[in-house]
């Protein structure tokens, strides 16, 4: 019997099949409907560019509704959450995100308060320790001078 599909050809066909299937996956992902919850999860991470301290999901203005719709369109087109955020930052500036996008600025924003608080604690502890140490040294000095001083002891004995 003649084998019409040798193993090598069979493997090649299987590989092509999986490759084609893999290539269709992004298209399949894009056809999934983007729900309001999907949009609001991302909108919660963005601030309204024109209303102070209001996240995009909570903002009820017409402008915010347009921006939420834009998030939906971008997600539908296959953009990742970070890509949507980057687009908003590029368009509306840094204030649409709660923290700076630049890694150095973000590190500074997070690190500076910790550094400041840490320094305050260290200085506080050192000051307290120095204060306790000085107090501890001062007390025995007077006690030793009063006990070990033979002249003083002699006077006290004479007074008795």
């Amino acid at each position: 019997m003649i084998n019409r599909f040798p193993p090598a050809r069979l493997r090649a066909c299987a590989l092509c099949f999986w490759l084609l299937l893999w290539l269709t996956l992004p298209a399949y992902a894009q056809t999934e409907p983007i729900t309001d919850d999907d949009v609001n999860v991302l909108a919660n991470r963005l601030y309204c560019p024109v209303c102070p301290n209001e996240t995009l999901d909570a903002c009820r203005t017409e402008a915010c509704a347009q921006w939420r719709e834009d998030i939906r369109v971008q997600l539908q087109a296959g953009a990742t959450e970070q890509q949507v955020i980057d687009t908003f930052v590029a368009r509306f500036g840094q204030r649409v995100v709660g923290n700076p996008q630049d890694p150095a600025l973000r590190a500074l924003a997070v690190g500076a308060p910790i550094l400041l608080a840490g320094s305050a604690v260290i200085v506080g502890v050192l000051t307290f320790a120095r204060w306790r140490g000085r107090k501890g040294i001062e007390t025995p000095t007077h006690a030793a001078s009063s006990v070990d001083d033979p002249y003083r002891t002699q006077i006290e004995r004479d007074l008795e």
Partner: protein, 207 residues
């Protein structure tokens, strides 16, 4: 041992108090507090900055929705009316036809009207331009750097009239039709803006 030695021994002179010689920790803490105060101070100052109403107009460059670059400093010799607007802004919708009328009347007399779309999506901006048949150049303020960092606008609409030398000569919030009930320095009738433009054009002719 003399009596003075004795007194010195039982009641030694107090150590002089040190005022200098801060520890490293104290220096770090003080530096941190000073930096923190500086950052807060700068932020507060920036928050209090308002629109420039006189002096040299901050320069900017935008790419119009037609793809043409527009740089304010390249317009010296002409009067420029810079209007900040957004498609989601209701007063901007009332103002747009008036600005278009102004532009049509004055474009051949050395006046340029330019629109800067603030915090707006490109598609919405284009739809707004089409809806009102706007023909003067318009472009998006990418990153809102022009509106917030240079002109410090509080909202939209806001308009600046810049003279032939690049100086801001008038600022107002909204342009109103002449039939509107009342106007003031910030909500101005179109006749008042025409008068301002005529004065600036006359000034240029006398020079």
């Amino acid at each position: 041992m003399t009596d003075s030695d004795f007194l010195q021994q039982i009641d030694p002179a107090p150590e002089p108090i040190r005022h200098g010689g801060l520890s490293v920790g104290s220096i770090v803490l003080i530096t941190g507090v000073v930096l923190f105060a500086a950052v807060i101070g700068i932020a507060l100052l920036r928050q209090q900055q308002t629109q420039p109403t006189s002096g040299q107009a901050p320069d900017f460059t935008i790419t119009t929705f037609d793809g043409q670059p527009f740089t304010l400093s390249e317009q010296r010799g002409t009067i420029v009316v810079v209007n900040f607007w957004a498609s989601w802004c209701a007063p901007c919708r009332e103002e747009a036809p008036l600005l278009e009328a102004l532009w049509r009347d004055y474009q051949d007399r050395g006046v340029i009207v330019v629109g800067v779309a603030y915090a707006d999506l490109d598609n919405d901006s284009r739809a707004f331009i089409d809806e009102f048949g706007i023909t003067y150049p318009n472009g998006a303020d990418i990153g809102t750097t022009i509106s917030k960092n240079r002109y410090h606008i509080l909202g939209v609409p806001e308009t600046f009239i810049i003279d032939q030398n690049g100086n801001i000569r008038r600022f107002f919030f909204q342009l109103l039709p002449d039939s509107a009930g009342g106007d003031d320095d910030l909500f101005v009738k179109i006749a008042s803006v025409r008068a301002t433009l005529d004065i600036l054009l006359a000034e240029a002719e006398t020079l």
